[in-house]
């Protein structure tokens, strides 16, 4: 398999692009794809400060490295969720910190247990829905990302979601026709409130396989552990199904996602509903659609030893 640019040995074949590239040209191609994605969706400009949410994994650390290479102003945020099984959270934090140190970048670290008194496994147990730790985790991460972005004056929060993440989420939402979720799935979620940060997904035109290959080619060390709560996660199951389709017909995942975005753009999922009014949460002050407490603060209400922010 030869590189389409130089004829050298290719390290990766991307049938959906009919493109094979060597390490050197692949390492150039990926940032150019990301730059095009940033411009296509008007995600942010070089004058804006971006908060990159990093987990210590291949996608978020690759994203951070690419944005730095492209010359964007970035700082990182690592949220330690307090998952102690096989030292998962602390180990992931070490990868995020090592990356920031080696690239001379600023990393903000929020430790959920130290800040709020309890960690994700405690919250999951308190809800008696151990299998639904992912939902509590999502609420906690969204709240903290938004708080740090607002307090730090960042223009946007960038996350490492790639095509496989987006297509798997889309498949789950389509199977249940979750119109509300479909409306909110986009490469850019604009800020709808002064205290609500814009969210962007600059890797949303890359396959997960490509972000992993990029990390390997660029020597980015990332945590290879899977979150213990996600081992049987539906997302992995749906990604497997999408990969089966991809094997039969390369480009299916990308087409599925991009066609959805186009349909969304054309108003296929638009509802004739009034804009939802956002009010300040009575406890933390963050914008919420609820009348009193936001989803994050309600989460701690149900936890027996919850501490206020």
């Amino acid at each position: 398999m030869k590189c389409a640019k130089c004829g050298g040995v290719a390290v990766i074949g991307m049938p959906q692009h009919r493109l094979n590239l060597c390490a050197e040209h692949f390492a150039e191609w990926v940032p150019s794809m990301v730059q095009r994605t940033i411009e296509r969706y008007a995600m942010f400009t070089p004058n804006e400060r971006i908060l990159v949410a990093v987990s210590g994994g291949k996608d978020s650390l690759s994203l951070w490295e690419i944005l730095v290479r492209l010359g964007y102003q970035t700082e990182g945020l690592y949220i330690n969720l307090g998952i102690t099984h096989e030292d998962y959270s602390d180990n992931s934090q070490r990868y995020a910190e090592a990356f920031a140190a080696s690239h001379n970048l600023r990393l903000h670290v929020v430790n959920v247990r130290e800040t709020y008194g309890q960690a994700i496994p405690d919250l999951a147990r308190a809800r008696k829905r151990g299998a639904r730790a992912c939902s509590a985790c999502g609420t906690v991460k969204r709240h903290i990302m938004n708080r740090v972005a607002y307090e730090g004056g960042f223009a946007a929060i960038a996350t490492g979601h790639q095509v496989d993440d987006e297509a798997a989420t889309l498949l789950q939402n389509v199977l249940r026709w979750q119109a509300g979720y479909l409306l909110r799935q986009a490469p850019v979620l604009p800020s709808t409130h002064p205290k609500l940060a814009r969210k962007v997904k600059p890797l949303c035109h890359l396959y997960e396989r490509e972000t992993a290959a990029y990390a390997l080619v660029r020597g980015i060390e990332f945590v290879d552990q899977e979150c213990p709560f996600s081992v049987n996660a539906k997302t992995i199951f749906y990604k497997g199904i999408l990969n089966q389709l991809e094997r039969r017909s390369p480009g299916t995942k990308m087409q599925f996602y991009l066609s959805f975005l186009q349909a969304r753009e054309e108003g296929l999922f638009r509802r004739e509903a009034p804009e939802v009014e956002l009010a300040a949460c009575r406890r933390c002050g963050q914008p919420t659609t609820a009348e009193e407490l936001c989803a994050f603060c309600r989460l701690w209400e149900t936890a027996p030893r919850a501490q206020s922010e």
Partner: protein, 65 residues
């Protein structure tokens, strides 16, 4: 029969050399879209022919998000 080794997490397989990385991945029951292959710590494409004595490490590329 000349062989090579494939390692993935804590598991290890012995495979015949002479086949492609992709064929070997399928033969041991893994999804070629879910892993990448490294030889001597360097990424190799899945059409690479496995040489006798090769030690190939597979890296998982699918995460739960």
């Amino acid at each position: 029969m000349p062989t090579a080794t494939i390692k993935y997490h804590k598991r290890e397989w012995t495979v015949e050399s002479g086949m492609t990385v992709r064929a070997a991945i399928e033969k041991i029951g893994l999804d070629p879209y879910a892993v990448l292959a490294l030889r001597d710590k360097k990424l190799i494409n899945d059409q690479t022919i496995i040489e006798p004595g090769d030690e190939i490490r597979l890296v998982n590329v699918i995460s739960g998000g």
